[in-house]
Structure formats: C-alpha cells, structure tokens
Symmetry: C2
Subunit: 211 residues, 2 copies
C-alpha cells in the first residue's frame, strides 16, 4: 500500500517529510489537510493525531506523527539521508531538536503572523520577538556551516531537511538570505539535490487558494 502523507503546502513541518520522501524516491500520495478551514482543531483530526498537527504519515496500519519521528522512520526504511554510526545519529538528532526548538518553530510562527493573519490581528511586538529569536538561530546555522557543506554528517541528512523546512517559502520570513551567506549556499546545495522540489510544487494547497 502506498504511503499517505497528511500535509498541506504551507506547512514547513510537512515539507520536511515530503522532501525526505521525494529525495529518497519513496512512492507516496498526499492527503490535503484543510488547516485554514480549521480541520486540525476538529475531533476527527484529533483522533488521528491528539497533537492536532500536520504532518501525519500512514504506512499501512502504522500511523506516525512529528516530522522528526517520521524522518527517522524513513531513514530506517530507505537506508538514505541517515548516519553510519551512533555518533552521527546523535549529531543528526541534535540538529533536528535545534530545529524544532529554535528554527522552524520561530520562522514558522513569524511567517504565519506576518503573512497569513489578518492585518488587524498582527502584533508588531510579537513579530519583533519572533524575528529576534529567528535571527539568533540563523546565526547558529551560519556559524555551523562555515567550512561545512551539511549540518550533521558528510552528506545531506534529515537534519538538513529539518532545518530548511520553512526556509524555501516565498513569503516574508523575517530575514534576508544575503545576510547569511553560508546558509544561502547550503540552501542552494539542498535545492540542487536530485528530486528536490519546492514546497508548493510538492504538496497540495498554497496561499493563492485563499486569494
């Protein structure tokens, strides 16, 4: 049975998994989550995922949530984008955790508040707070990528796919790539990987649906 990924185009957390599926050549089909219609707050979706989040992956009877857990599962299933020893495995997880806490969480929230909230609900102090945290996190990635091609191992891994989850979107993300040249080069390397696709080309749904 084909893997089904509950996802939507605007979800950078979903993109981390969709991109791992694409880059490993794993067959999958998308099930669109109508996030902007509030479906993730409903009882049916909460029965699927008590956390109320996308993505959710179904592989036969197995139901997985949290992009990091799903990425780890795909490493085991495909033998790609992973590690060759325990030290590398820890390094990959280290950057996935950093992403969840400091990168995607901040840039995802900034992007939502800045681009998808009605203007009268936006709070400049909140945007400034999120942007400050995001710029600190990007400075860490910039320092890490000085003299390295990939965040965790000698090749691309799910750590890179985690940290880049929100960074390819065209909306105002609160930073300019030119200010983080090593990050910009690294994003260029990711986008050059065979099978890479932009989030709005890989998953159903994008802001023009709501225009």
């Amino acid at each position: 049975m084909t893997i089904r990924l509950h996802c939507f185009g605007e979800s950078g957390h979903s993109y981390k998994v969709a991109l791992a599926l694409a880059l490993t050549g794993t067959p999958w089909e998308a099930v669109k989550v109508d996030f902007f219609d509030g479906v993730t707050r409903g009882a049916d979706y909460r029965a699927l995922n008590v956390m109320g989040e996308a993505p959710v992956l179904e592989d036969g009877d197995l139901v997985l949530t949290q992009s990091g857990v799903i990425q780890d599962y795909l490493v085991g299933k495909t033998g790609q984008l992973g590690w060759t020893n325990e030290a590398e495995r820890r390094e990959v997880w280290r950057w996935i955790l950093f992403d969840n806490h400091k990168v995607s969480s901040q840039v995802g929230a900034y992007r939502f508040q800045k681009n998808f909230l009605p203007e009268d609900k936006r709070k400049q102090d909140v945007l400034d707070f999120l942007q400050g945290r995001l710029l600190s996190a990007l400075a860490v990635l910039e320092a890490r990528l000085q003299g390295r091609d990939w965040l965790a191992t000698s090749g691309p891994s799910i750590a890179d796919l985690a940290c880049c989850g929100y960074l390819f979107y065209p909306e105002d993300l609160g930073f300019e790539r030119a200010e983080f040249p090593h990050v910009a080069d690294w994003l260029g390397r990711i986008a050059a990987l065979p099978g890479w696709a932009h989030p709005y080309d890989l998953m159903p749904g994008n802001p023009s649906d709501r225009a």
Copy 2:
C-alpha cells in the same frame, strides 16, 4: 570519570537531564553555567556548544548537547526510562519533539519574559502570544493524560521528563495547575518517583542569587 553536566538551576532544559541522572541513580557533578552573566554568548562557551545552550554533558571525552539527545544517551547507558520496542521508542521521541516545539519552548520563554526580564523590557503582547501557545500545548497534554499515567509508555520515560522540564518552577508560568487536573496528577506522580528533586535543589543557581 564522573559525568559532568553544564547546567544552571533556572534552566528547565538542563533539569530534564539532571532529573534523568537523579532518577536513574547515575553519579554526576554539576558545572554551573553563568547564563545570567552572558557566558553562553561568549566564544569559550560557543566552542563547547555552537548552539550556545545549556545543558552540555561530558562523559569522559564524549560531549553531548540538546537535552533530548542526552536523555536518549542516558537511556542507552542505564537501561532505564526508555522503551521496550521500536514503537515505544518512536512514541517517546514523539513527545520529546512535541515538548521541544510546543511545551518547554513556550513556557520557558514565557517564564523568562515574565519573571526575569526587567519590567520595562516586558511586552504584554508577547506574553499573551506565548501564553496562548502554552495553553494550547497543555490542553494536548491534558487530553493525552486522560486515562493514562505516563505520556509515552506504561511507565515513566524520558518523554515525561522532557515535557515536565519547566512545569515545577515556582515563578509565574502562565497557567494554573488546577485548570489542567490530569497534568497536575501526572506532575504529582513524577514528583513521587524515588530520587525526584526540585530543579533549584538539583542544580546550582536560582533567582535569589540575583535578588
């Protein structure tokens, strides 16, 4: 050589690891991180951890960062607070990731902004934003703990120690335990585990140092 944990009392992320060390009966010593003096922004600390965060664990020549990675290492080392099969391992990681993204990140930031920032730097809109996100995350924990004693497995695991990281602190955390009775009971079960200690008793440094 005794395990050394770079930590400080106010750090809930450090507490997740210190508590895992305490509950597993692992010998360790604390190295105080002078976070409030800005040490984590300095070059020496960044050489230890490019992410500029606490905790950092040293076990002989091995240096580990990110509380989730360190907790995972301690499960492997002690055979405690972990899982019995792959499905349980994924479930534990699922809640560790939820914590990093939605629980500790929000309550940690709320607590800092509300209690440790000078009053003239506090922004009410930022506090409201963080509190809203925190209450949503606590509602997920509350739903999950209905009819269960522990978050991920049949006994206490590092998933529980991750999600509770900031919830024992005495400062204003933005929520009342009475509003989340299942969460309150679960925190009571954690505090009743043999070896449990309050963060300010387990690690060096607390707000009275700066009074």
